[in-house]
Amino acid sequence: MLLNIYLNLNGNANEAIDFYVKALGLEKPKVLRFSDLPKSPDYVIPEDMLNNVVHCNLEVHNTTIVISDSSPAGEYQEGSSVQLILQFEDFNTLKKTYDKLAFYSDILIPLTWNEHTRGFAMFKDQFGVTWQMNL
């Protein structure tokens, strides 16, 4: 049984993929775009959506984040019920990743370390995804 995370974006999946690859130091993934799909008269993709992402697997240390843009007919609502947690084994890696990943974010809880926590942060990034980091 494999647990994956689906992120559904609103036309900026290409940008999100590039950003996450850099921030998390990932391998460059394969990206399937609407323009790669076989043409069908029943399902016409608007010209300005052809470059949007249908499917992309980002491999983040044994868990896959599947990224796509909303389909032309799909609705899009940013939610807070599903979030992602990155768990680190050393503070330096946490801090380095935080500096990159949270750079354009709304910081919900700034990176803190004290007698109760060895390192914790929570933020919503520029793509509407809420992340927690801890040590």
């Binding site: 994956n4 559904n8 044994n62 609502q77 807070s80």
Partner: protein
């Protein structure tokens, strides 16, 4: 570095985690409640939230879903932008999990074959968690 899924609930995290444990098997999860936290004058826990879940988790295969309740008044929005997906190797595994989760769900894609999976469904469960369940195609 490890990546986990985190699910947020509004006072129903305990019910949800017990329900998910029934669906996915494994040990009965333990819930740490807000009321069990060390008292902190800077962090007031409202009386009605003392029995809310601060932290609980279940394992799915080798991975973990962590869960908690949002504090009353904290922003909570059910969205369409993030979902949880579980890939099974056999249809029997898929069926066993779906049979439990299929309780007062809102079906978005009914169970059936898809081009990427031999069996697939997409639904929102009674706690508001969006799930994709699928059986990997045999290669």
């Amino acid at each position: 570095m490890k990546l986990h899924v985190y699910l947020n609930f509004q006072g129903k995290a305990e019910e949800a985690v017990l329900f998910y444990a029934k669906a996915f098997g494994g040990q009965t999860p333990r819930c740490l409640k807000y009321g069990q936290m060390p008292a902190n004058p800077n962090f007031h826990i409202p009386e009605e939230a003392k029995d809310f879940v601060l932290h609980t988790e279940i394992n799915i295969g080798k991975q973990t879903i962590k869960m908690s309740d949002a504090l009353p008044g904290a922003p909570f929005v059910e969205g369409t932008n993030q979902q949880v997906a579980v890939e099974f190797t056999t249809e029997a595994e898929f069926d066993a999990v779906y049979e439990v989760l299929n309780d007062d769900i809102v079906t978005i894609v009914p169970v059936g074959p898809a081009f990427f999976a031999s069996k697939y469904t997409y639904f929102v469960d009674k706690f508001g968690t969006p799930w994709h369940l699928m059986v990997q195609k045999q290669h």
